[in-house]
């Protein structure tokens, strides 16, 4: 920057801040606002009438267990033996070591702590089963389970989970014979409870009557493949730029383009810390957007890319005097 440019920049700043004392034109702000309101109202009414809005039906534990029973039972087995996504998530749900995401050496996830504890075996399987009425086979299975040591319980649950994973179509009826204890009966009863609609209510009402927190049933459903299958069919998957998309052919959230972009490229696309890294990067970029007036280079782009010459072409044509 030359010495003659520095004073000119200051002069420009001083002039830009001064109250305008040049020529003015009539400009009816209230009329402009009323017209804008009318235009937007009419546009909205027309768009809504022509295109409507999407409403894809929700997945319940009942619909999931009826549409994809094998996936449901496989997921329930993973909840019981502690290998599901939720069971091994780390904070805020579980104390699983080394599960939390990091930005460099810092794990904000870990620091926040386990503030919404979930024990998937008892919350998603054993608790709801205890509420099932008058079923002698289930009662016997639960007695056997409770009488066993934790190590025995883990051995039964893991063995059955592994066997289900290997079975054709993960079908419980095609599982290899093995030592699974009461687990097959328990999970079969969980399936029938879910199919009858009893599980949706059980997961919500474990604490109170007026329940508005759907964390437990949502985490259970999301641990399975069924919800993801429905979502990916609608192009909502993370690697499908799904964050920007809406179900069907509706326009989605185009303004999330930069947030979802990072997930598509390395190193984020292959990193286990992708969520933490992308969130951190977007926090920095958002701050940069807010602070554009103070960032050298960025704040000069409007001078280099002279869109303003189009906007103020009449003003400049009249010699800048107005």
């Amino acid at each position: 920057m030359t010495t003659t440019e520095a004073p000119r920049r200051h002069q420009a700043q001083a002039t830009d801040a001064q109250k305008w004392t040049g020529r003015v034109r009539e400009y009816d702000l209230v009329k402009e606002f009323v017209i804008a309101l009318a235009v937007v109202a009419v546009l909205t009414a027309a768009l809504a009438a022509i295109f409507s809005s999407p409403d894809e039906k929700q997945v319940t534990l009942s619909t999931w267990s009826r549409s994809a029973p094998n996936d449901f039972v496989l997921t329930a087995a993973a909840e019981l033996d502690g290998s599901s996504g939720t069971a091994s998530y780390g904070a805020p749900y579980t104390h699983t070591p080394d599960a939390a995401q990091k930005i460099g050496p810092v794990s904000l996830q870990h620091i926040a702590g386990v503030t919404h504890p979930i024990n998937t075996a008892s919350d998603f399987v054993l608790g709801p089963l205890t509420g099932v009425p008058a079923d002698p086979a289930l009662s016997a299975a639960l007695r056997t389970w409770r009488a066993a040591t934790p190590e025995q319980q883990q051995q039964w649950a893991t063995a059955y989970d592994d066997a289900l994973t290997k079975a054709l179509d993960n079908d419980p009826t095609k599982v290899e014979p093995g030592n699974y204890g009461p687990v097959p009966v328990m999970l079969d009863r969980l399936l029938t409870t879910a199919q009858s609609g009893g599980l949706d209510g059980a997961l919500l009402s474990q604490k109170q009557f007026f329940a508005t927190d759907y964390t437990k049933p949502l985490l259970f459903i999301a641990d399975g493949s069924y919800l993801e299958d429905q979502a990916r069919a609608q192009h909502l998957g993370g690697d499908q730029w799904g964050m920007m998309n809406e179900t069907g052919s509706y326009p989605g959230q185009a303004w999330l383009w930069l947030y979802t972009f990072w997930y598509q490229v390395s190193p984020f696309s292959t990193s286990g810390n992708a969520d933490a890294l992308v969130w951190g990067l977007m926090a920095v970029l958002s701050l940069a957007l807010v602070l554009v007036p103070f960032i050298p280079g960025i704040r000069s782009i409007p001078r280099w890319v002279p869109v303003h010459r189009l906007i103020w072409r009449d003003y400049y044509r009249q010699g800048g005097a107005g």
Binding site: S52, P54, E246, G252, L310
Partner: protein, 57 residues
């Protein structure tokens, strides 16, 4: 509200969308149209003449 009963979404968007693929970019056709329309409107706003001051003193 009579309108909602008379006009049941004449343009039905409740079917699988079309997607445009360009390298790593995957854009839904609907989003692409929205963005394209926004750019067109922006350029039009820059180019279209604005009404002159009728009460020029």
């Amino acid at each position: 509200m009579v309108i909602s009963h008379l006009i049941a979404a004449p343009v039905n968007l409740d079917h699988p969308g079309h997607y445009v693929h360009w390298g790593v970019i995957q854009l839904s056709l609907a989003n692409l149209i929205v963005i394209a329309v926004m750019v067109v409107i922006f350029i039009a706003a820059l180019l279209l003449p604005f009404p002159k001051d009728r009460n020029r003193r």
